[in-house]
């Protein structure tokens, strides 16, 4: 087996010998990523309606279903409608703290069978398996959104305590709830936020950051577009006009 030392030594030797092919630079990085992210947010607070229009167009362009409600109180009705149309009852949801609102009781009152994921790590593997099997069984997964990217119609979800990766992956229908504070215009801006999130290595972001651009799809059989291969067949984004996230 190769050792780290000899492996890297061979690379170092090659790099030392190789002439640069042309003067080249890596991408410009924000010098103060947190401050730059904050200033992007501030600017967008002024022009979020335009950004939302672009997001909606792009999200629908990748077969996402867009909903708009006035306040967080109206989300349970929207979710219940989606459930009814699919004759679905079982729903797995991010923890209220991760979602930014406790929708459990209201959803339950509308006939949904709600499974809220815990805010802390399960203490046993048995419990872990039980929670996972719920996500694998139910039809609906309800999550928040960390960033909604207009340029590509993309939802960015960061994993962590109370925000499992499986909620947006295993159920055939994913419903994501967000407000204007999540909106970004471009992938470049996403880069600034990713830099900001990682600027402090001690800050505990989750082990996975997922960019979700529409429902799961494949064209592997005769290039026929088919949705819902492994991930959800449907992705719904519910935009809440009145900001609800802290």
């Amino acid at each position: 087996m190769s050792t780290k030392a000899e492996f890297l030594a061979r690379i170092r030797e090659q790099v030392r010998r190789a002439p640069a092919r042309f003067a080249a630079e890596t991408a410009r990085r924000p010098q103060h990523p947190a401050a730059e992210a904050e200033s992007i947010r501030r600017e967008l607070a002024e022009r979020w309606p335009e950004t939302l229009d672009v997001f909606r167009r792009e999200f629908e362009g990748v077969a996402g279903v867009f909903h708009r409600v006035a306040s967080i109180d109206m989300v349970p009705d929207a979710v219940a409608r989606i459930a009814r149309e699919r004759e679905a009852r079982g729903l797995v949801a991010w923890h209220a703290a991760a979602l930014g609102a406790d929708l459990g009781p209201a959803l339950g009152a509308r006939g949904l069978d709600v499974h809220q994921m815990p805010a802390t790590e399960p203490t046993s593997d048995v419990e872990r398996q039980r929670l996972r099997s719920i996500a694998a069984r139910v039809d609906l997964g309800l999550t928040g959104v960390d960033l909604a990217v207009a340029e590509t119609g993309t939802l960015v979800l960061v994993s962590g305590a109370g925000r499992p990766r499986s909620t947006s992956l295993l159920p055939p229908c994913h419903i994501a709830v967000f407000d204007r504070t999540a909106l970004l215009e471009s992938l470049r801006q996403v880069g600034v936020f990713l830099e900001a999130w990682h600027a402090d290595p001690a800050s505990a972001r989750g082990g996975a950051i997922n960019f979700i651009t529409g429902p799961s799809r494949t064209a592997d059989i005769e290039l026929t577009l088919t949705r819902g291969v492994h991930g959800p067949k449907e992705v719904h984004a519910i935009f809440v006009e009145q900001p609800f996230r802290g």
Binding site: M1, V15, A27, S216, D220, V229
Partner: protein, 472 residues
């Protein structure tokens, strides 16, 4: 019929592919569609050209300090609790992964589509160790059931009809399947869902790795990449050393052009940034994370003639536009990586001898260089490979004799004029309509698939000497 068997010469493999009527049609439809989608994606994206230049510059800048960026990556993966392994050869990579799988007591491994694991022939090694590898990308799953290899970097099963897939599912999965892509996809979803939940170990490649944060980036449309990195207890990622990018800011430049070049999407459905094992508080994510850094001929090219090919993103755009690929498909190339870039990667991984014939499987039209998101000058390197094949006397001897004679002739004007006159006499029995359809003896190879233009009744030199109007 598999045309990818290396025991048959390239010419026969290519010939077989060209006789395959279905393959011909499938290739035309698929590549034409991909070309159109890519063109539309960039047409609606004014920043595209500038971003391609920038992506290329980032790759070059990264190579100039590859040692530094890899050390940063390693330090960050380890900081997050992952382990890094070093494989000089495919055999070493296989041994490392089999060891990891054995140590974790794994009996089944779920895999997300990865050209690197194809390159190291991982599945055979896992099977030999009693671990069942399951490909989970639908296209890869189909060809695994059929015991074949991918025919396209991003659409591995384009050579199969829905009828063939239905027969395959009925036979291999013991459940009746209709030749309908929707129904077939549903069957695969159900079959593979069980495997995702049961598997002990998940194996992936890496589209990128971000040094600054220790992040592995996987791009998929189906969601299998997310499953494989979230559900099993152990995650192993295998990546060529050239896949590292310095920062998240660099990553975003590549993400903005990768999917557009591959499938014409603005982004693929899922871009997953995974960093280390599961963190405290998380419900899912692996307990163990392993990163296998693979050399496999890459390191020697940092200062080698194929350096530019180390910038390849594996998007498949050069395959779709290549007139040779469009005729013969991926299997005829005979190695893991098909198409124009595949010839260079094969030379990198297997040595120049392996591409003795393949180096000529290009019309040098340059369409690949135009399509490449990072503007790799593939034709230039193919020409250099041809020269190396000739200089190292790897080429067949009649070819070398002819080119040696031609070189002498071209350097001696008198001899050249004499040869032109001699040629005019000697060619008479073979000329039809100004072209020579067949040359005698072993030189016949040249005219096997193309005509040779006849020596003109009056050569340019002769006309130049006498025709006033030619000289103005």
């Amino acid at each position: 019929m598999s045309t990818g068997d290396l025991a048959t010469p390239f010419r026969q493999r290519a010939g077989g592919a060209m006789q395959d009527a279905f393959l011909q049609e499938a290739l035309t439809i698929a590549t034409t569609k991909f070309i159109g989608l890519r063109r539309e994606a960039f047409a609606g994206f004014p920043d595209g050209e500038a971003l391609r230049d920038q992506a290329r510059a980032i790759k070059e800048a990264t190579l100039q300090q590859l040692d530094h960026h890899l050390e940063t990556l390693i330090a960050n993966v380890e900081r997050l609790g992952g382990r890094v392994h070093y494989a000089a050869t495919p055999a070493e990579a296989r041994a490392i992964i089999v060891d990891i799988a054995r140590a974790s007591g794994a009996r089944m491994a779920v895999k997300s589509k990865s050209m690197a694991t194809e390159e190291i022939h991982l599945n055979e090694a896992l099977e030999a160790a009693g671990i069942t590898p399951v490909e989970t990308d639908l296209g890869e799953y189909i060809i695994q059931l059929a015991h074949e290899r991918p025919s396209h970097i991003i659409a591995p099963a384009i050579h199969k009809t829905k009828g063939q897939v239905a027969e395959l599912f009925t036979r291999e999965l013991k459940r009746p399947a209709e030749p309908d892509p929707e129904a077939l996809t549903r069957i695969a979803r159900a079959e593979l869902r069980e495997k995702f939940l049961q598997a002990d170990i998940g194996i992936t490649g890496a589209n990128f790795a971000v040094a600054d944060t220790g992040t592995i980036v996987l791009v998929t449309n189906e969601g299998n990449g997310r499953m494989v990195t979230s559900l099993p207890r152990v995650h192993v990622a295998v990546m060529g050393v050239e896949k590292v990018v310095p920062s998240m800011s660099d990553l975003m430049v590549f993400l903005a052009i990768l999917a557009k070049s591959a499938t014409g999407q603005k982004l693929s459905v899922y871009t997953s940034l995974v960093q280390g094992p599961r963190r405290g508080g998380e419900l899912e994510g692996p307990e163990e994370f392993h990163l296998v850094l693979l050399d496999g001929g890459r390191i020697a090219q940092i200062d080698g003639p194929l350096r530019e090919a180390l910038s390849c993103l594996r998007c498949g755009a050069c395959l779709n536009v290549c007139p040779v690929y469009r005729q013969i498909g991926g299997h005829a190339y005979g190695y893991t990586y098909p198409g124009p870039i595949g010839i260079l990667l094969t030379a990198m991984m297997e040595g120049t001898e392996a591409v003795r014939d393949l180096a000529h499987a290009s019309s040098l039209c340059g369409a690949c260089a135009d399509a490449c998101p990072v503007r790799i000058d593939i034709p230039r390197m193919l020409i250099e490979l041809r020269r190396e094949v000739d200089e190292r006397k790897i080429a067949p001897w009649p070819e070398r004799v002819v080119f040696a004679l031609l070189a002498r002739l071209l350097q001696r004007p008198r001899l050249y004029r004499l040869a032109a006159r001699a040629g005019r006499l000697l060619q008479r029995p073979f000329v039809a309509g100004g072209r020579i359809g067949r040359v005698p003896l072993f030189f016949g190879e040249w005219t096997r698939t193309r005509d040779l233009p006849a020596v003109a009744a009056r050569t340019f030199q002769e006309r130049w000497a006498t025709d006033r109007e030619l000289r103005g």
